[in-house]
Symmetry: C2
Subunit: 549 residues, 2 copies
Amino acid sequence: MNVSSQRKAIASPESLQRIFTVPEDSHSTLNIIEQKLSEDLAGFLGDNIVAKETSLASIETNFKAFQIPESPQFVSDYTDSMMANLVAHSVHTSAPTFIGHMTSALPYFVLPLTKLMAGLNQNLVKIETSKAFTPLERQVLGMMHHLIYNLDERFYQSKMHCSAHSLGAFCSGGTVANMTALWAARNQLLGPEGDFKGITQEGIVAALRYYQYDDLAILTSERGHYSLSKAADLLGIGRQNIISIQTDENNKVNVDIMHQKAEKLKAQNIKVMAIVGVAGTTETGNIDPLKELSQLAQEIGCHFHVDAAWGGASLLSKKYRHLLAGIELADSVTIDAHKQMYVPMGAGMVLFKDPSFSQSITHHAEYILRKGSKDLGRQTLEGSRPGMAMLVHACLQIIGLNGYEILINNSIEKAHFFAASIKIHPDFELISEPELCILTYRYVPHKVQLTLSEAIKQNNTKKIREINTLLDSLTKFIQKHQREHGKSFVSRTRISPVKYQRKPTVVFRTVLANPLTSEDILSQILEEQVEIAKLDSVHLPKLLSLINE
Amino acid sequence: MNVSSQRKAIASPESLQRIFTVPEDSHSTLNIIEQKLSEDLAGFLGDNIVAKETSLASIETNFKAFQIPESPQFVSDYTDSMMANLVAHSVHTSAPTFIGHMTSALPYFVLPLTKLMAGLNQNLVKIETSKAFTPLERQVLGMMHHLIYNLDERFYQSKMHCSAHSLGAFCSGGTVANMTALWAARNQLLGPEGDFKGITQEGIVAALRYYQYDDLAILTSERGHYSLSKAADLLGIGRQNIISIQTDENNKVNVDIMHQKAEKLKAQNIKVMAIVGVAGTTETGNIDPLKELSQLAQEIGCHFHVDAAWGGASLLSKKYRHLLAGIELADSVTIDAHKQMYVPMGAGMVLFKDPSFSQSITHHAEYILRKGSKDLGRQTLEGSRPGMAMLVHACLQIIGLNGYEILINNSIEKAHFFAASIKIHPDFELISEPELCILTYRYVPHKVQLTLSEAIKQNNTKKIREINTLLDSLTKFIQKHQREHGKSFVSRTRISPVKYQRKPTVVFRTVLANPLTSEDILSQILEEQVEIAKLDSVHLPKLLSLINE
C-alpha cells in the first residue's frame, strides 16, 4: 500500500476527535481488507489452514515489544503490519480442510452484523445500555428453551419477558454456562432455612455445617468436559469431588456404576449436588443415556444438568433430535451457539427448566439491577456483556429450522460417510463410531491390523501394548506433520477404548461441521495421512518389523 | 427496500452452502447499513440517545415469538425488520449526550477490525485455533503489565512468551477478571502442603480444616463493585464474608477501620484472604489509598488486589497516573479495555505481578492444554474465547500513549469543568468532586439549598430528612424524564454523603469519557434538567412550600 497523503495519525486533540467520527480514506488497507472479506470470506485466507507456516518462536519475535508505543501509528501502517504478522499466521478455522476442532465456516451475513453489533456497543448487563437488546436476548433464550423443553404457549407468554423469571442466561461460552448451572444448583441445594441465611450469604463451610453434610460431590462421565472440574474448583467443591464414572464401549457413561457410586457417597455422608450428563462428548461426540441419568438424579434428589455445549444444536434436526432424548428432563442445559449453530466465538447459553431456578444466584446493585427490573445482569455470572444474542437471533431467523435441518443432517451423514471410508480403507482403523459428527480413528497399516487382531485373540497383552505404543507415536507424527504442511488439520487426543483394555490410545479426532467440507476433501485427507506416514523413519519401520517377528 | 429477485433464502442444500460462501447482492439492506456505519458511525443513529422512545412492553411485542421459525428468512427482510425493531430501539451509547454510563464512542477503525476478528473466528483457548493470536494476546498482557508494574526489560523478555508463566489473563470483562484474581488468591493461600492436596483438589471445607481457619474473608470498600460479592458467592466464601469498610467524605476506604476489622477477624480465627482496593469506584470514580492498603495487606499476610476496571486506563496519562500511585504494589489488577480504552464491549483483563501466580488455577485437558504448552486456556476462567485482544492491541498502537494522554486528560478536565459549572449554577449541588471523570450531583433549587444549609447548621435532622426525601423523588423524576425525552442521558444512583449523615441520597451520576461530549453539551444538559424539574407537579411544589414554613 502506498503512503497516501490522506492518511491520518493522531497528533492533536482535533485529530483524536476525528478518529471517533471521520472514516478512513476509502482506499486504505483496512477498507480494502474489509471489502475482500465481504466479497469472499472463505477465500480471504486462501486454501491453506495457515496462510504461512512459521514456528511460534519466530512469530513471537513480532510480538516482543513490551512497552506501549509513545507515538500513534497510521491505521494503514498498523493494518499492513497486522496482515503480515497476525492474519498471515492465524488459523483458517473456516477452511473446509480444517476438521480438527469445533470452529467452522460462518454464514456471510454474520460478519456485517458483527460490525453492527460492535458499532451499537450495547451492554446487556442492564436495560439502560441495551434497551431492545434485552427482549431480544430473552427471546433467544425462550426459543432455545422451547427447543429443549417444548412447553406450552402460556408458559412462554407469561415467563419469557417476566422480570421475576429467567429461562436461562447468555454468556461467553460453555464453560461459563456450566459454571452458572452448577453455581445455581449448589446455591439452591444449600439455600436459606431457619436461622441459616443460605450458602450465598454464609459460604460453603457454614452451609455444610447447617445441612450436616461432610462434603459435596458431582457425578459425571469420564468423558465430561474439563470445564466441570474447573467449575468444581471455582465453586469451592474441589476437583476430586467431580466423580468421573467409567463409560461403556460407546463412550456413554455407565449409569449402574454411577448408581453404585452415589450409594457409596451417601454412606459417607457426601451429598451429590448434581449429576452432569454429556450430550456430545468433546472427544467422541457421544451422548450419555439422559433418561436414565434423569431417573437417577430424581432418585437421589439432586440437580440434573446436561452439558450439550456441542451436541445441543442437534435438537434443531427433526431427523436426529431423538439422539438427545431425555434432555427435556434436565433441570439445566448448556448449549454453545458458536459451535454447531454457526455463530462467531463468544455465544454460550444455559437454559433452566424452572424459570425461577436462577433466583439462587440473583444479585442486586444500587446504580443498576434494581429489584423488579428486567436487567439481565441480575442473573448472570458475567457483568458487562456484548449483544452477541443478536447473532444467534439472526441465525435462527435467517437459517430457520429448515436450514438447520439440512446443516445438522449433512454433518452427521458426512461423519457416517467418513466412518465408512475409514472402515473400508485397508490402512485405517475407526476408533469411535460417529453418533453426531465427531469420530476418532488412526492410521494402522493393514498388516499391522492383522497382527494386532491376532494378538488380541491370543490375549497377548505385551504385544498389544508394544504395537499400540508405536502406533501412538506414529499417530502423533502424522498429525503434527499434517498440521505443519498446512493443507489440512485433524486434531489428536487420547481416549481409552474398551477394545484395548482401556489403555489410553492416541487417535485422530475430526469434527465434521463445516458445510463446505466435501467427501472429496475427506478422501484427500486420508491419502495425505498415508503419504505422511511413509515419512516416519522411526516408528513405522519398527512396527513393520514387529509383524515379521 | 424493494424485494430484489437477486435475494437469496435458504431452500436447498446448495443455497445453504451458498450462505457460507457467496456475499449478498451489494444493494442489500445489510450492505447499505454497513456502508452507512462506515461512513458515519456517530451519525448512524442520529442525535438522540434512543432513536425512538418506546416502552419496553411495546418493544417486547416484537420479540414474543417463542418458536424458532420453520422457514428461512431473506437476509434483507431480516435486516429490515431488525432495523425497525432492534436498532431503532437500542441505546445510542456513543452519543455525546449519553454521559450516564461507562460506554462511550469508539474509534472508527475498531469496527472493520471487529469484522475481521469475527471472520477469522479464532479461538484463543489454544494455539491450534489461534496461532499468532496467542503471542499477540500475551503481548497485550505484557504491555498492560508494564504499564502497571514497569519492570525491567529482562523480566518481560523472559516471561512474556514463556509457557510456565503468565502476566495476566484476558477475559470477557471486569467481573470475570475480579473472579479470576480472587480464585487464584484463594487457591494460593490454601495450596497443597504435606498430606493436603490443596483446595483446588479437595475444596474449601477440607482446606479450612487443614489450615485450621474457621472461615475466610475479603476486605474492601463499601464502594466496591457488586462483582466482588458475586465472586465471594461463586467461590464458596459467602457474600457476608466480603467485609465492606466505610469510606471517608471523599469515597475512599478508611484504612484505619479496615485495620481494626482485620484484627477482629484474626481474633475470631477468620483468615482475611484478600484486600481489594478500588481504583475508580463505579459510582463516584474515587481511588482508594492504595499504598496504605498494600501495607496493611503485607502486615496481615494476604493478597492485595486492585479493581481498576474503570480507573486503570488513567495510567495511560503521564499527567494523572499519580492518582493511582500504589497500584504497582498490588498482587493483581483488573482493567477493562472496553471502558476508558475505547475498545468495544467484551475486553477485560487481570494482570498478575508475579508471573507464577496463576499456577494455582492452572488446569489441563487431554485433547488440548497439554502441560508445557503455551495454550492460554490453561489459566483462564473461561474456555473458548474470541480474539478481542486484537482490538486492544490495535488501540494501543494506533492511539499510542500520546493519544491516550490527550483522551484521558480531556475526560478528567471535562469533569472538572462540569463540576465547576454545577457549583456556580444556583440550582445545582455537586455531591461528589471528580477525581477521575465521574461525578455526582443533583438539582436543588437555590432557595432549597439555603434552607437545607440552615437545617444542617441547626442540626435539624427532621427537616434535613424531609427535604432530602423530596429531593430524592425530584432527582428520580428528572432523570427518568430526561432519559425518556431521548436527548441526553445521565444515570442515577444512591450514595451516602457524610454531609447528610450518610443517609442514602439519590444523585445524578455522569461519566465523561466520550471525547465528543463538548462543554456546550454539558451546559445544555443542565438547562434541560432545570426545565424538566419545572414539570414535576408533585415534589417541587412540596419542596418550595417547605422553604416557607
